[in-house]
């Protein structure tokens, strides 16, 4: 199974400014001071091996959209944030004019999780089948609403793809094109749902827009069971812990530290920090990643947990 991150930012899209790019270039030049490179490849290798991630990359700015490639002809994607636009470009290129079948799994219908759908190219291709899976009664209403006048020029009914809304039941495993999908209720304004995807002995959990009340042992155990032995847990780590439980308590999001603790309880293998705070720059996000990695080291028992931070364009092969 392959996981491809098309959008990793929470709440609202962000992009690097020209000043940000100039700063990164200046930092790279200072760090490379005195070195000479005979070719582009040599410079590229140096940048990859020697420079910080925050200097050579950006975590990216599209709102949530994560593709799962479980094998087979059908597409699987979690959420339709603004990352759905480049995801759609990818689908169209891969399909080479052949209509696609796309299974969308919707965590909830807040705008940052559906805003990319009107720009999702395959929905304008006749013969495309789109199934939008979710647990909310308002799923179809929300999708139609954002394409209703005066907000968008193309009405939902004008889409060329056939779009079906599929209601899933939380806590119950569902078979979708050979993949077992289990939704899990999460704490967020208007509710949100995480999804556990299982195929061929591999398990991926997508759990975003989910706040955890730390003193509630039953809640922690319920999530540990949901994450149990997962190969990957894509986790809402919008804030540092102090922020998440003080000024931003009840905002419906979690922290890097709680992600580590729940994954340790669940004996998950790889935690991927996700739904990055739009106010955080690349250095801050890299700092939050390092802090989570250090916390994992400090608190590690007999089970090591890998910790990464998602960025737009990141791919993970299981």
């Amino acid at each position: 199974m392959r996981i491809r991150f098309w959008g990793t930012r929470g709440s609202i899209g962000v992009s690097l400014t020209s000043a940000d790019i100039r700063d990164k270039l200046a930092q790279a030049l200072v760090q490379a001071s005195g070195k000479t490179f005979a070719s582009y490849e040599e410079a590229h290798d140096y940048a990859t091996a020697e420079l910080d991630f925050a200097t050579t990359h950006t975590f990216g700015g599209h709102t949530p959209c994560v593709e799962l490639e479980p094998g087979g002809d059908e597409y699987f994607v979690c959420d339709m944030g603004s990352g759905a636009r480049p995801f759609g470009v990818h689908v169209l290129a891969k399909q080479a004019k052949k209509p696609a079948t796309v299974n969308i799994f919707q965590s909830h219908v807040h705008w940052d999780h559906i805003m990319g759908f009107p720009f999702f190219g395959p929905s304008y291709v006749p013969g495309t089948k789109i199934r939008i899976h979710g647990c909310h009664d308002v799923l179809e209403h929300a999708y139609r609403l954002q394409q209703a006048a005066p907000c968008f020029p193309v009405e939902f009914d004008q889409l060329m793809a056939s779009v079906e809304f599929v209601k899933l039941e939380p806590g119950k495993p569902h078979e979708v094109a050979g993949v077992t999908v289990t939704p899990h209720l999460q704490l967020h304004s208007g509710d949100s749902y995480g999804y556990r995807f299982e195929k061929d002995g591999k398990a991926v959990v997508y759990t975003t827009d989910s706040e955890h009340k730390l003193e509630d042992r039953h809640e922690a155990e319920s999530f540990a069971n949901f994450f149990r032995n997962a190969d990957i847990v894509i986790f809402d780590a919008m804030y540092a812990l102090a922020e998440a439980i003080s000024v931003k308590a009840d905002w419906g999001h979690s922290s890097n530290i709680v992600g580590v603790e729940l994954c340790q309880m669940a004996r998950a293998k790889h935690l991927v920090l996700f739904h990055h705070e739009p106010a955080n720059d690349d250095e801050t996000l890299e700092g939050l990643l390092r802090e989570a990695q250090r916390f994992e080291e400090l608190t590690r028992g007999d089970h090591a947990l890998k910790v990464s931070a998602a960025y737009d364009g990141m791919e993970i092969d299981l």
Partner: protein, 124 residues
């Protein structure tokens, strides 16, 4: 986990030993909020002596945050002193060092409260 309170003039030092995690945080929270109530009523500061604290989890940190809010509402003062290196690192990693007044030793914490508290500590 064990909690022992001792008063020095206008300050109470709460010595916490053991691990503060999901298993122990409920009992600790009750102890702590009780102490904060008492301090608020008597107008004394509270110093958390963490020299014997081996570990603190996010659930434990939340207990501390609740106590801090309670103390702030009463316009009181709460300080954290003498953390072991691992606990100090967890404080920094979780950004709790930005929420609490952290001082290296109990002696310095008492001196920050009042000369009387520091003198009472000196006398033993």
């Amino acid at each position: 986990m064990n909690v022992v309170a001792r008063r020095y003039a206008n300050a109470v030092v709460l010595r916490v030993t053991g691990r503060l995690d999901q298993e122990t945080c409920e009992v600790f929270r009750d102890d702590l909020t009780g102490q904060v109530d008492l301090c608020a009523r008597e107008g004394t500061a509270l110093i958390l002596d963490f020299s014997g604290l081996e570990y603190v989890s996010s659930a434990g940190l939340r207990c501390l945050l609740i106590a801090s809010r309670q103390m702030k509402a009463a316009k009181g003062r709460i300080l954290v002193a003498d953390m072991q290196s691992m606990v100090a690192e967890i404080f920094a990693i979780s950004h709790f060092d930005l929420l609490f007044e952290v001082v290296p030793t109990v002696r310095e914490a008492l001196a920050a409260i009042s000369a009387e508290a520091a003198a009472a500590f000196q006398r033993g």
